[in-house]
Symmetry: C2
Subunit: 225 residues, 2 copies
């Protein structure tokens, strides 16, 4: 079996959350959000190697969290770059072979099945990306107006985005970072087809105070509270 | 000032919720979901005329709710059609002039401001539709593959969708219903420009058990619980 890695990207400065605490360290169901994300991956596999990408000025916070919660001995920490693109590229420098799941640090509700399916499909297809259908209608903006488009032709893209490590490393080496918002786009611009698979509506990205409340409700429901 | 109407469309049979109770009648914070939606509009204006569109076999349920909660004296009930398109068209037959907000019965968290802004902008532009930017990347599907598209060029469409009544009545009279998922598309196909304005991420459409839980969390947060 190929070696499996996860790069967990936690570059947020917390500005959209309106507070001084970076969103990956906000408290969710009694512990820092980032720990929920990490535990989703360790519960999938103890053999997985986790690379956590953090801004330089958050390393001390991480060290105290890792100590307090007795995690992190097996987690490599890598300093992020100015953009998500550069943060992921920094993380990829620690990997040479196998499969790598790239995941948003602030998607704590990812399930074991979504992680598992991602690795299996990336093994088969080279690039596998979790997604969900759109529940709402969408419109395309153009200067001065907008028009309706068929929502069934689109998917909302989540993470994990799982790749053959050599494939995604090469893509990150050759593609510029302008306007790229996810890893699938990096792989695509390097010429690779993307295999889409089912994520879940629960696998939300926490970017606003409302999202944190929603995640809390999901976790309470799971715990049967 | 023009007369203002709201058509609240509640056609759901509840299949996606996994239960026998249509989702508009599910309990949310202690009362049927549809009452939250109706109260959002009555709290905006007591002069607003509300037209509630319901499937034929749900009229009895509505009557008992209206009696129990002492609402509905001023609410006209109209029987819906086989599709959302036909349900809205049935509702529009009760209106001849002024402005009309068409709203999903299962969007109970719409704010007064979103309703107010919709009427003001529809008065100025003829057609005003609430929307939010996409938080996630999106991909466009095509046979056998998919490609990334720039999410900043798209908006997720919500309701209310507010129109000059004569404009939207004429549009619903002349456009076929195939594949149309919202009222803005009906107006657009009849040749009208759509003015988009800011909705909110809280203004969710309740279509799954998870959504109901999220709405509950939002309401508890508002109540300071």
């Amino acid at each position: 079996l190929p070696k499996e890695y996860a790069i967990i990207v936690a570059g947020g400065k917390g500005t959209r959350m309106g507070g001084a605490t970076p969103k990956q360290f906000l408290s969710l169901a009694g512990k820092p959000l980032i720990l929920h994300t990490i535990e989703a991956f360790t519960s999938y596999s103890q053999d997985l190697e986790i690379i956590l990408v953090l801004p330089d000025d958050q390393l001390d916070t991480w060290r105290s969290i890792a100590e307090k919660y007795a995690v992190g001995k097996s987690i490599q920490v890598v300093v992020g770059g100015e953009t998500r693109f550069r943060s992921v590229r920094n993380g990829l420098q620690k990997i040479n072979d196998g499969l790598v799941a790239i995941h948003d640090g602030v998607r704590p509700l990812v399930s074991r099945d979504i992680i598992k399916n991602g690795f299996e499909l990336a093994q088969r297809h080279g690039a596998a990306v979790a997604c969900v259908p759109l529940k709402d209608s969408i419109r395309l903006l153009y200067p001065g107006s907008s028009k309706s488009v068929d929502r069934s032709s689109f998917r909302l893209i989540q993470t994990p985005q799982v790749f053959s490590a050599p494939l995604i490393k090469a893509a990150y080496g050759s593609v510029e970072d302008k306007g790229i918002t996810d890893d699938a786009s990096v792989a695509e611009r390097a010429g690779h087809a993307i295999h889409l698979y089912d994520g879940s509506y629960e696998n939300i990205k926490i970017t606003t105070p409302e999202d944190l409340m929603i995640a809390d409700a999901f976790l309470k429901a799971k715990a049967g509270l």
